[in-house]
Amino acid sequence: MLFRSHLLKWEARVHPLRQLFWECTLRCNLHCRHCGSDCTASALTPDMPYEDFEKVLLRIKEVYDSRDILVIFSGGEPLMRKDLADCGRRVQELGFPWGLVSNGYFMTPQKALELLKAGMRAATISLDGLEEGHDWMRGVPGSFARADEAIRYLASVSFLGFDVVTCVTQKNFGQLNQIKEYLIAAEVKAWRIFTVFPVGRGATEPELQLTPGQYRELMEFIVACRKEGRIKASYGCEGFLGPYEGKVRDHLFSCQAGLSIASVRIDGSISGCTSIRSSFGQGNIYKDDFVDVWENRFGIFRDHTPFKTGPCAACRWWKKCQGNGMHLRGENGELLLCNLEKLL
């Protein structure tokens, strides 16, 4: 794209906050093989009290238009919190639209209705296969049935921004067409596909990673889905894709962490998105002013030049890729994964 590098610099300078993740709990009822955060049912770290997060929202509201910022409850599994609907209601009262990312296990129709009444306007449910494959991946029998119920219910709500997210691995790679047909039958409009990145449990099970051949096939599958038009398939933010840029997403790749996306982690640390290593934390809500941090820090998120080392140093795609997604970097900024290598 002509002048794209200039536009990216402009975007970094303007950095309009559009999505704010709140890692409201680390507790999770499932035991997913690919989990990047190693959650457990009784995490040692306590949930963050809503009042602590609300102080951040009140401060943000003083400076920005709250209607422009989507607050997303993430975890862990956010529905492990009994007070989630109350939290949502209070977020809505402050004028912020809100949504959540969930495994769907506790998203019964009753719970979904309670959340919708509390102002939920966006939701993502994870589904990693049909019954056998999903339950295997999620580590708990019956997970598919629960996710299925949640998906069918939420897909029927016209005012909800709803999508299903699927992690593609060796296990479900051969079932993509069946999963697609299932989602279409469930009247799901949007399907976001991603692949495992080597962090948390995802790093210890290399068989979850696709081979380069499978990865290319996956890209072709998404391209074909998009051409077919029966469901809006797209690839998640797992980095720059070279020849597939513009073909598998609605936009060209740029890591939005720190440009339009921020997060408040369970310990109060302020970062880009919740998948990024903790060493990239830019401050903490318990000692820093969020708006000051958002406006004046986040330097590495807005200028990736220090990442131009190792395999990126001489890469001909640097200008367009800008060092890949921030969550694909290790504690010291080293590149953990470059999916583009699988496509060249």
Binding site: M1, R4, L7, L8, E11, P16, R18, Q19, F21, R27, N29, S42, A43, P46, D47, P49, L70, I72, S74, L79, R81, K82, P97, G99, L100, V101, F106, T108, P109, Q110, K111, L113, L116, R121, A122, A123, T124, V157, S158, F159, L160, G161, F162, D163, A190, G236, C237, G246, D250, H251, L252, S254, C255, Q256, A257, L259, S260, I261, C273, T274
Partner: protein, 63 residues
Amino acid sequence: MKKAFVRLLCLLLGLNVFTACYGPYRGPDQMDPEQIEQELKDLQEQEENQGEPEEEPESSEQE
């Protein structure tokens, strides 16, 4: 109007400032609040007609 123009411009230029990246995408902006209210009422009626008990997570107390 100005916001819509900037949004359109960004989309045309390939910038994803206004689109979801990792989390869910926003619901429709222009939805009529009355229409939402009516749909919620319909969902409530549907729920009351079915009347199944709700299941809560076992360990959902805030720690």
